[in-house]
């Protein structure tokens, strides 16, 4: 059942939130021992929240657009009084004294947070294998990864345990796992969704976004979490967009760029799925234009300097002094080092070292500053592209879900699985992944739609067309 359907039934009194939540808890009990999408299930709190929603309905009050809808929240989004650890040992047991803005928005909309979802440590990874809680498995094939870093959120929705979840996307961490798990994932325009309470990985790239089984549900959740937040200085001063109401307006008259640079290197089956999606859009009246944006090839290099640079600073605070893991040592500096050595996993350490190096005296200009110039180049290239097209179509990932352990030993190979998603984050633009069939092994394929800043409504409209014909 969709989130929209649940909310409609609960609001009208046709169905009780308590039943909906019990059903979700049962699904989790049935599937999660194998999938391991959740790091914690908030059974009693979810039941209490559901009862409150039922009471509100009984009182004639409207609990909101997500009334009674069970939802999972990624382990890097602060939930007051609940462990929020970014799947890292260094934040083991840490309970924030405050809620992220999006968590407040969910609760205000009547959603019921049933669990916290697994992820790559500090959102660094593409497989959810870098987790202190152990890996999450792809719900379609348990021998494969769900993608990452929001693998738990994608798998929870993909396995049908919850209709909705929240993830975060810094270089593809929503779209790549959405593609691997056969669900819809949206990375919104930078600043559309508040980052307040999202534990930072790379502040200039991070953005919270929705996972859902349908485009409409993704639109519904995005509406709820969007809007200006005075607690986030980078929050856009724009009202939350109206997305659901215009979903069925189609794509007639839109110019869609079929971007070679976001397809080359993808598997033949994925390439074919992108072509098929283009045909669907064309059949619905869109004009398909073949195009190239060669600058996008520099995205991966720029990203792997900017994101680690910001991360090296953002993650400095995990020093054993105030919260999280502390390993005692004779003095403060040694305590810092011992705590960080024990608390961070290999991938996090790798990126902290990379970022520290990129910002160091004598190297800043060659690495960090050069990467920022490259970022500007990519922003300009996208701007030029959007003067001739309304949307861009490409692959979300080069491959479908790979096997657990396949790329753990080769970080560079792992990084390449985000090659198509990274440029969007550098530009601060929105993009989404929508299911578009499966490969011969039955593994889900996602196609990616990209648009200029604040084009979410247009992106979701096009995704709805693809979903209707291909999903």
């Amino acid at each position: 059942m969709t989130a929209r359907g649940i909310a409609q039934d609960v609001r009208s009194g046709d169905r009780r939130a308590t039943e909906v939540v019990e059903a979700a808890l049962e699904e989790i009990a049935t599937h999660d021992s194998a999938v391991h999408a959740f790091t914690a299930v908030h059974t009693e709190a979810a039941r209490a929240a559901a009862r409150a929603i039922d009471a509100a309905v009984a009182d004639g009050r409207d609990p909101g657009p997500l009334a009674g809808v069970p939802i999972g929240v990624k382990d890097n989004i602060c939930q007051r009084g609940r462990v929020t650890s970014c799947a890292s040992r260094i934040l083991e047991g840490w309970q924030p004294p405050y809620d992220a803005t999006v968590v407040g928005s969910l609760v205000a909309a009547g959603a019921v947070i049933v669990g916290t979802t697994n992820m790559d440590e500090f959102a660094m990874g593409s497989s959810t294998e870098n987790s202190a809680y152990g890996p999450t498995r792809n719900p379609v094939d348990h021998s494969r990864v769900p993608g990452g870093s929001s693998g738990g959120s994608a798998a929870a929705v993909g396995a049908g345990m919850v209709p909705l979840s929240l993830g975060s996307d810094t270089g593809g961490s929503i779209r790549q796992p959405a593609a691997f798990c056969g669900v819809v994932g949206v990375k919104p325009t930078y600043g559309l969704v508040s980052r307040y309470g999202l534990v930072a990985f790379a502040s200039s790239l991070d953005q919270i976004g929705p996972f859902a089984r349908t485009v409409e549900d993704a639109a519904l959740l995005l509406e709820v979490i969007s809007g200006h937040d005075p607690l986030d200085s980078t929050s856009l001063d724009a009202p939350a967009p109206s997305l659901v109401d215009r979903l069925d307006e189609g794509v007639a008259g839109l110019r869609v760029g079929l971007c070679r640079d976001l397809i080359e290197g993808a598997s033949p089956e994925i390439t074919a799925a992108v072509a098929a999606a283009a045909e669907v859009l064309a059949a619905e009246g869109a004009e398909i234009v073949e195009m190239t944006i060669p600058e996008l090839h520099y995205g991966l290099s720029a990203y792997y300097l900017i994101a680690p640079a910001e991360a090296s600073s953002n993650l400095a605070r995990y020093d054993g002094v105030r919260y999280g893991l502390r390993v005692d040592a004779p003095n403060v500096a040694e305590m810092n080092a011992a705590s960080r050595t024990a608390g961070f996993g290999d991938e996090v350490k790798r990126r902290i070292m990379l970022g520290t190096y990129a910002l160091s005296a004598g190297y800043y200009d060659a690495y960090y500053a050069q990467a920022q110039r490259t970022r500007t180049l990519i922003i300009d290239a996208f701007a030029a592209a959007y003067r001739s097209v309304d949307l861009i179509l490409g692959a979300t990932t080069p491959t479908t879900a790979f096997a657990l352990g396949d790329k753990v030993a080769d970080p560079m190979e792992m990084y390449l699985s985000d090659v198509f998603t990274i440029p969007t984050n550098l530009a601060g633009h929105p993009a989404l992944s929508v299911p578009a069939g499966a490969d011969a092994a039955g593994l889900p394929i996602g196609v990616q739609l990209l648009g200029p800043a604040l084009s979410e409504e247009r992106l979701l409209r096009a995704a709805a067309v693809i979903e209707k014909k291909r999903g």
Binding site: Y98, L198, S233, S313, S360
Partner: protein, 480 residues
């Protein structure tokens, strides 16, 4: 003041941190308050908790611009940067500061002696918490325990960096004092060095004569008073000269001023210096004050200390004695020169008003008292007109300040301060002379100091009700 030997010259630049007098911290809504139970004045933002984000305090920006304008700085579009280094009192292990794009660029500060010191920049940043090291050595290396209070973390600061334009410790003290007076005048800071509202670091080097290249510098920290600024710089310059004359070289390092021992000692060497890895703070947007905003702030700035000192000298007729110059500096420094100008405007003699404000009012106010200008002016008028004696005026002032105001005439009347009639004063004066014949003879013989002796006796006999000027006149009249 210490003179360096031979042709040695010291070169000094000062870095002054001032806390801004805002209601709340720089990036959150916590109160910007001194003291308090440790770790009570904190929130997720100033504790740097995971997921928290900074939001810039607009009032802090306004105060920082006030400082910039008062120092004739170029106000420029600016960017906050992160200064990365690990230290337990720094909640995020980076400090949000400004680096290559400070809010206030090049400006200057003119010392009372006419020297112009270039201000290279005056940028905004957040304060850290406070670490206390307990047991062992009592320093970060080798203490048994360290405890941290984050109440101060996130308090808004402006760091004002001077050029290497200062050439003596006395000049450095003057610069710090003048800057302090300017900060107070702008309303940006209370300038209290003892509470850490204003903190001074000094970069000191020496060279052989004004044409030689700059020497290797050392940075001196922990200068908690104007006196320690001067002492520490004198000591440090002499230490460097002594080393160089002995054929040794200066090692660039940060040194700690030990006020009790009267010397500086190594805090950390250049090799231990941090690589701060500055980069633009991605959680904040660039800060670009509009011309309209800058003009509005400029229009709201009061007169600065230099101009106010000139005003007082003008009221004195264009020149001041050395002690009047000190009084002027003191009342301007304390921001109470408005009492003098207001009194002068109603016809009270500027010298009298200046002396009373500098000597009597300043003391009363520094003990925490308050008094409005009009009340003080009335009291000065009464003294000027001879309605009360100087001694009586002081007593009335003390009463007024203690009760936070009131009607000076009513207070004088309540104390029984009436103008003593001449006949009564003459009688008392004659009696005092008769009781002290030896002193009177010496006075007649030309020992003018004894005038004070007789005045004191008369004051004692009249319980301070006599007018000192009338007593003096009586004494001179009797000597003939």
């Amino acid at each position: 003041m210490v003179a360096l030997p031979d042709d040695w010259e010291m070169v000094v630049g000062l870095e002054v941190h001032t806390e801004l007098a805002t209601a709340t911290k720089l990036f959150c809504g916590c109160a910007n308050a001194f003291g308090g139970e440790p770790n009570t004045n904190v929130c997720p933002v100033c504790l740097g908790l995971p997921g928290s984000l900074p939001v810039l305090n607009e009032r802090a920006v306004e105060l920082a611009i006030r400082i910039g304008l008062a120092l004739h700085c170029e106000i420029a579009p600016s960017v906050f940067s992160r200064k990365n280094y690990f230290y337990p009192d720094q909640p995020k292990d980076y400090q949000i500061s400004q680096y290559d794009k400070p809010l206030n660029g090049i400006g200057h500060l003119d010392l009372p002696d006419g020297t112009r010191v270039i201000v290279e920049r005056a940028h905004m940043e957040e304060d850290t918490g406070k670490t206390t090291h307990l047991g062992g050595t009592g320093r970060i290396h080798g203490a048994d325990e360290s405890i941290v209070d984050y109440n101060r973390a996130g308090v808004p600061l402006v760091e004002i960096v001077s050029g290497p334009d200062i050439r003596s410790a006395e000049q450095a003290r003057l610069y710090a004092a003048e800057l302090r007076a300017i900060l107070i005048a702008t309303g940006a800071s209370d300038g209290r060095m003892e509470e850490g509202s204003m903190r001074v670091d000094a970069n000191v080097s020496v060279r052989r004569g004004p044409d030689a290249a700059f020497g290797t510098r050392c940075e001196i920290k922990n200068l908690n008073s104007l006196r320690s600024v001067q002492r520490a710089i004198d000591h440090e310059a002499m230490r460097q000269v002594t080393l160089l004359e002995a054929g040794e070289r200066i090692v660039q390092e940060t040194r700690h001023w030990d006020e009790d021992a009267g010397r500086t000692q190594t805090l950390r060497s250049k090799e231990e210096a941090y690589d701060y890895r500055y980069f633009p703070e991605p959680d904040l947007v660039p800060l670009a004050p509009s011309d309209e905003q800058i003009d509005a702030i400029r229009a709201s700035l009061p007169a600065m200390p230099a101009e106010r000192r000139r005003t007082l000298v003008g009221l004195l007729g264009g020149s001041a004695t050395e002690s009047q110059a000190d009084q002027i500096a003191s009342v301007v420094d304390q921001g109470i020169d408005g009492f003098v100008t207001a009194a002068a405007a109603t016809g009270v003699g500027a010298a009298l008003a200046l002396a009373r404000v500098a000597n009597e009012l300043a003391g009363a106010l520094s003990d925490g008292g308050v008094l409005d200008v009009a009340t003080m002016v009335t009291l000065l008028e009464m003294e000027e007109a001879g309605e009360v004696s100087a001694t009586q005026a002081k007593a009335v002032l003390a009463d007024l300040v203690a009760s936070g105001g009131g009607d000076p005439r009513a207070v004088a009347a309540a104390k029984g301060f009436e103008q003593m009639d001449t006949g009564a004063l003459d009688a008392i004066l004659d009696q005092v002379i008769a009781d002290n014949p030896d002193e009177w003879q010496r006075y007649l013989g030309g020992d003018d100091k004894l005038a004070g002796f007789f005045t004191g006796k008369v004051m004692a006999a009249t319980k301070g009700q006599a007018d000192g000027k009338a007593v003096n006149a009586g004494l001179r009249q009797r000597r003939g």
